[in-house]
């Protein structure tokens, strides 16, 4: 005969020795399921948080590596230049490599460096969200420009390119989802050393 009381009220109490016919009761099963769900839920939450943070760290590291590459390229252009000039914007840039630079400004948003018929221009463009980007344009013998863009740039308050204290320099910050990274580039062209 079916005894329903065994389902609702288990005979075996906590701490008693289980008899040969006892297995899980409904209460034990529910307690186990709830406990496992709580533990797995907490572990999943930790894992999702850790993965999101790891993604943010990876993006920040990639942005840092990209801007380190830009800083190295800028430093190389500064130090190996035969001629250079700082302009307030790109409208003052000469139309061709053969055209002399003309007058510049002590601090501005555009740096142009020339060496052996190769011109490298670095231009800061303001963005809508407060940060902008640096556009690097390399023009060679064939006149075809190669353009690279570096996003997430915040220029220093004094301006991004300057000739402060007789030293050609660039200062900007990169804003990632985690932190702010400051970049400073110094160099003196060959003809100034």
């Amino acid at each position: 005969m079916i005894c329903l009381s065994n389902l609702v009220f288990p005979k075996r109490a906590l701490g008693e020795t289980p008899n040969a016919n006892s297995g899980f009761t409904l209460v034990e099963l529910l307690a186990a399921i709830i406990s496992v769900v709580v533990v797995l839920g907490a572990a999943t939450g930790f894992m999702i948080t850790a993965m999101a943070r790891q993604k943010a760290v990876l993006e920040a590291s990639q942005l840092e590596a990209i801007h380190s590459q830009l800083a190295a390229s800028m430093s190389d252009a500064m130090k190996t230049a035969d001629d250079f000039q700082i302009f307030p914007d790109t409208t003052r840039l000469p139309a061709s490599i053969q055209t002399p630079y003309g007058g510049g400004v002590p601090a501005g948003k555009v740096l142009s460096c020339r060496r052996a018929a190769i011109q490298r221009d670095f231009e800061f463009k303001d963005g809508a969200s407060g940060s902008g980007e640096i556009i690097q344009t390399t023009t060679g013998f064939n006149g075809t420009p190669v353009v690279k863009a570096y996003a997430g740039v915040q220029p220093a308050a004094a301006g991004i390119f300057s000739m402060e204290n007789g030293l050609l320099q660039a200062h900007w910050s990169v804003v990632t989802s985690m932190e702010r990274l400051d970049f400073n580039v110094y160099g003196t062209p060959l003809n100034m050393r």
């Binding site: 065994n6 701490g15 008899n19 004094a158 007789g166």
Partner: protein
């Protein structure tokens, strides 16, 4: 035939979910009717809770590993930042006109003023986002560093910081010889 069946009590609702069946593979029992032993005992609540406790400790261990990995990643970023600052100062020391260091009394990072021999300057390696809700200032200054210039041997730049603020044992010193570049 029918007399051979035996009905166990509570056969439907009280049947354990896990049933251990042991069959003797050799020796005991008849050849045509193998011996079966039913052990109907399942897990008790204490056993289940103990297993959940062990699982919880394992989960906490995994999260502790994540925290450790996070800390190591931060240390790597600090080292990278220290190396970058040292390289920037090396360029500054090499290319800035020497008279600037003597003529400037205050330091501005965007001014391009090199270090004088024996002089040291302070700064911060890490600028995390401010998450206090007001976001003012937007970025914080953490992990202070000190960079100094020694003219001996052609010039040596030294950058010092502590990985764990307040723990002198975690001090890190990175140096760069200007002549070796």
């Amino acid at each position: 035939m029918i007399a051979g069946f035996q009905f166990r009590p509570h056969a439907v609702f009280n049947t354990p979910i896990r049933r251990v069946v042991r069959r003797s593979l050799g020796g005991g029992g008849h050849a045509d009717t193998p011996t079966r032993t039913y052990s109907a005992a399942g897990f008790s609540l204490i056993e289940v809770l103990a297993s959940v406790l062990v699982l919880s400790i394992a989960a906490l261990g995994v999260t502790a590993v994540w925290a450790l990995a996070d800390q190591k990643a931060l240390y790597v970023r600090l080292d990278n930042c220290a190396t970058r600052i040292l390289n920037e100062y090396a360029e500054l020391q090499n290319f800035a006109p020497s008279y600037v260091a003597d003529s400037q009394s205050s330091f501005d990072e965007t001014g391009g003023v090199p270090l004088k021999p024996g002089e040291s300057r302070q700064g911060y390696l890490y600028h995390p986002r401010n998450s206090d809700g007001r976001n003012e200032p937007a970025f914080l200054n953490e992990f202070p560093y000190q960079i100094s210039f020694d003219n001996a041997g052609g010039g040596v730049l030294s950058l010092t910081y502590q990985r764990n603020p307040g723990d002198p044992a975690s001090k890190v010193v990175a140096t760069l010889n200007l002549n070796s570049q």
